[in-house]
């Protein structure tokens, strides 16, 4: 152990002796700090949102009520022998409650028209919904059960023509176009195309996830309202480029929904008639959204308009961690790329090997020193983000982070986010160490490592997520987000049955990716350590 410690201490000394290491370390924190300050500049923090914890608890309560209502529906379905399928088309912009509302609509459709529902998306919220529908699911399109698919095919016409594959593909296409942001001319063409779609008698108006009108009257109403919204989008260039644009889209969906409720005098899609109070509340809500839309509210401040100030700390913290993590990963990769090969290239390895220390200890000490540097830098970055955000926004004002699986304090969110990023950094580190050990060429290892990083960043740009905690590579990002979705809820001690069920479902599907991630790390380590270093000649 003493020798291992000595080798470890030597490795640390060697790493920190390099001038660029110190410079890069300083750069990480300077860039992250500058980014944090610039993004926070002139930003007025408004904490007028409903308390996040309370909001979350309300949502859970709503779901319980909904569950009870669904239980009642169960009996009706069973009595009538209705096959219940579900569809989630057009739910991309819905928040969790929106999904439940959508579920209600679907159930209503089933009840009224005897339609089936098909699930054709796999978002977290959808899984929640599936669970809410409790075993009414017949087909889930990621499960390639051809028997069930065949059964579904026979019923498709009966189910709903708008749910065919072409519609689904189109919806995805639209979503992508919105998310990527379009040029002004391209955007105008896009809006025009959308208007034509909406005017198509067979088309299904979709905005903010509000879709699939179940009768001509509703479809016409949706179409008129959505056309007005599209005009506003074109006028204000709401391309979907910024988070505020996504918020516009989401609120627009809600506006359509609220207007329909008011028009039909109902409380929810499956609900009672409006009381005076609820009508007043809905009218106020619709007016607020319309005012915001007409005043260009959603186009102000781009990243951090007022609506987003409540999440401002989270947005800024994520960006600081994201950019800082890329720099940390780069630094660790550059060091890792030369960790074995550089010593072999310079011949210094001979001095390293002729010591009374086994090679595996030398290798482990090298990897451990790098891993510790990455961990320490990430931890310091996370700590600094918390402190800086506290200084800028006030320590008592840091926002709670709400997600589909629970509520975290700002500090806990930052630490967990940093932890996921660290996983990604360690993955890259192992890639570079393995290259360095196997090909024994520093330049080649750096090129390969950075190439992979760039590839992943390109993948991120063209991917459908922004600032995923571990987006730096496909595999780590899939696995890290799986961990986030699967493990974190568990850690948060969720009690609602939907999330627990989702935990199981996601662990089943994406657990494989997580295992792959761990396997790649372990195989890389063992292979490079055992066969390429410990048991390989050093010529």
């Amino acid at each position: 152990m003493a020798k291992f410690k000595a080798v470890f201490s030597n490795e640390m000394r060697k790493i920190f002796h390099k001038k660029y290491v110190t410079l890069m370390i300083v750069l990480v924190y300077v860039v992250a700090t500058a980014l944090g300050l610039v993004l926070s500049a002139g930003h007025e923090y408004v904490n007028d949102d409903v308390d996040a914890q309370q909001n979350y608890e309300n949502a859970i309560e709503d779901k319980r009520e909904l569950g009870a209502w669904l239980d009642e529906q169960d009996e009706i379905f069973a009595a009538n022998g209705v096959t219940v399928l579900t569809s989630t088309t057009g739910m991309f912009y819905l928040d969790k409650l929106g999904v439940y509302a959508r579920a209600c609509t679907l159930i209503e459709e089933v009840e009224e028209y005897g339609l089936g529902i098909m699930v054709n998306d796999y978002r977290r919220e959808v899984l929640d919904m599936i669970n809410m529908l409790k075993r009414r699911l017949i087909c889930y399109d990621r499960i390639k059960d051809y028997t069930i698919t065949a059964e579904l095919k026979g019923k498709r016409e009966m189910i709903c023509p708008i749910f065919d594959e072409a519609d689904r593909a189109k919806n995805y296409e639209e979503m992508e176009r919105l998310e990527k942001g379009l040029s002004v001319d391209g955007f105008a063409a896009y809006i025009e195309m959308k208007k034509q779609d909406i005017n198509d008698p067979k088309g299904n108006p979709v905005i903010g996830g509000i879709a699939s009108a179940t009768n001509v009257r509703q479809k016409a109403f949706y179409r008129d309202t959505i056309l007005e919204i599209l005009d506003i989008m074109l006028e204000q260039n709401i391309t979907g480029e910024y988070p505020s644009h996504a918020k516009f889209h989401q609120d627009a969906g809600r506006l359509v929904e609220v207007k329909w409720f008011l028009h039909e005098n109902i409380k929810t899609f499956g609900g009672d008639e409006l009381t005076a109070d609820t009508r007043k509340a809905l009218e106020d809500e619709a007016a607020t959204i319309e005012n915001k839309m007409h005043s260009g509210y959603y186009n102000r401040g781009k990243w951090l308009n007022d609506e987003f100030t409540k999440d401002g700390t989270i947005v800024v913290a994520r960006l600081m961690l994201f950019v800082g993590n890329i720099l940390i990963t780069l630094l660790v990769m550059i060091i890792a790329a030369g960790i074995i090969s550089k010593e072999i290239e310079t011949g210094a390895v001979k001095m390293l090997i002729i010591v009374p220390v086994k090679r595996w200890k030398i290798y482990s000490a090298k990897v451990l020193s790098l891993a510790l540097i990455a961990t320490a830098m990430t931890a310091v970055l996370a700590g600094w983000v918390i402190v800086l955000m506290g200084i800028v926004f006030g320590f008592g004002e840091l926002h709670l982070y709400t997600s589909s699986w629970g509520v975290l304090s700002f500090e806990a969110f930052v630490l967990l986010y940093a932890l996921l990023q660290l996983l990604s950094t360690l993955w890259y580190m192992m890639v570079a160490v393995s290259f360095s050990t196997i090909i024994r060429n520093t330049a080649g290892s750096i090129t390969a490592g950075i190439g992979l990083l760039v590839l992943s960043l390109v993948g991120m740009i063209f991917g459908d997520t922004v600032m995923n905690p571990a987006i730096l590579s496909y595999v780590p990002s899939i696995c890290a987000s799986t961990l986030a979705d699967s493990v974190l809820p568990h850690l948060c001690k969720m009690t609602d049955y939907e999330s627990i069920a989702c935990f199981g479902v996601e662990l089943g599907f994406d657990g494989i990716f997580t295992l792959c991630y761990v396997a790649v790390l372990l195989v890389g380590m063992v292979w490079s350590a055992r066969d390429s270093f410990c048991r390989r000649d050093i010529k």
Binding site: K14, T346, K350, V355, I538
Partner: protein, 333 residues
């Protein structure tokens, strides 16, 4: 008293001072189809400086790298102080110091920092670092970055590395390469002192035959991976064992008298007679082939008959000649 790196031997320990420090048995290594080291076996004892000779590509460096644990043998064993290098690496290496191929170190570090890194792993004190720096004469340049060192300075630093932990076995691959004459002399003195006074076993691979001749006690010769011979250096040079006939050169005042007396005493043993060149006196060189034991009698007979004997010199060949004879001219293996 003999220092062994771990403590001091007493009288009792001196008896075991000639133990086998390095023991190589049937060592074999191939690269692809080419057998580079082919079943070689030899030992290096404590207090012994062993020259490891062979033409380029004969397998010397491969053998040294296997001793250092850098290459893995296909078969055979290497043990240092009784510890097998493959199965008991840490214990074996605790007794080894040396330079393999080139004296490479961390170029961005100063000489002292390089030594400090090695010292930390080997548990060596700061005092010892200063000591080895003094031994190799790098006091004035030790704080400079190694990448600014000349080859000779790097060699000195490599030697300092090797000596750092006071190992019981030292090995050097071309240690005097790049050293200036004073450096070569210092190296020779240091190694001889360590071997002969402190009982350290030393293996030196070099092409500098004159240097090896001055340094080594025995030689191990390999060619094309095969062991060609192991011998005491004098016997190797002279090509004869004790009791064998050897050539001697006598320098005498009278060629005719000397030839007559020698022939009378020992028969036809005179091989050549020449006038001694570059001498103001009239002296003659008489080359004879006799046994070593005949020399005193012969000198006495000459002197009794008033022939002045100015010099008796064994006519052994140089190590270089012997080496070239043994290896057939040193073709690359």
């Amino acid at each position: 008293m003999v220092h062994n790196g771990a403590g001091y031997f007493g009288i009792e320990d001196m008896r075991s001072a000639m133990e086998k420090i390095l023991e190589i048995k049937e060592l074999t290594r191939s690269f692809g189809n080419k057998v580079v080291v082919d079943h070689i076996s030899f030992d290096v004892n404590s207090g012994e400086i062993c020259g490891f000779l062979g033409p380029n590509g004969s397998g010397k460096t491969t053998t040294i790298k296997m001793i250092a644990g850098m290459l893995f043998p296909d078969s055979g064993t290497i043990s240092v102080c009784g510890h097998d290098v493959e199965t008991d690496f840490e214990a074996a290496m605790a007794n080894v110091g040396g330079i393999v191929e080139n004296p490479d170190s961390y170029g961005d570090f100063s000489g002292r920092m390089n030594l400090e890194l090695a010292a930390k792993v080997r548990g060596v004190s700061e005092k010892r670092i200063d000591e080895v720096i003094r031994i190799v004469g790098l006091e004035n340049r030790i704080n400079e970055k190694v990448k600014r060192y000349s080859l000779g300075m790097k060699q000195r630093l490599g030697i300092a590395h090797a000596l750092l932990s006071e190992p019981r076995f030292l090995m050097f691959d071309e240690p005097t390469n790049g050293l200036d004459p004073a450096g070569i002399r210092d190296f020779r003195r240091t190694i001889k002192r360590l071997a002969h006074e402190e009982g350290i076993g030393v293996l030196v691979s070099s092409h500098m035959m004159t240097e090896m001749e001055l340094l080594c006690d025995k030689v191990v010769i390999i060619e094309k991976g095969k062991l060609m011979g192991i011998s005491d250096i004098d016997l190797f040079k002279n090509g004869a064992a004790e009791g064998d006939v050897m050539q001697y050169k006598l320098v005498v005042s009278s060629a005719d008298d000397a030839r007559r007396i020698i022939t009378e005493k020992l028969g036809d043993v005179v091989r050549d007679v020449n006038r001694k060149a570059r001498s103001s006196k009239e002296l003659w060189e008489v080359d004879i082939e006799v046994e070593e034991d005949d020399i005193p009698m012969l000198v006495k007979a000459l002197v009794c008959e008033d022939v002045e004997v100015w010099m008796v010199e064994p006519m052994g060949v140089s190590l270089e000649d012997a080496y070239i004879n043994a290896t057939g001219g040193g073709a690359i293996g």
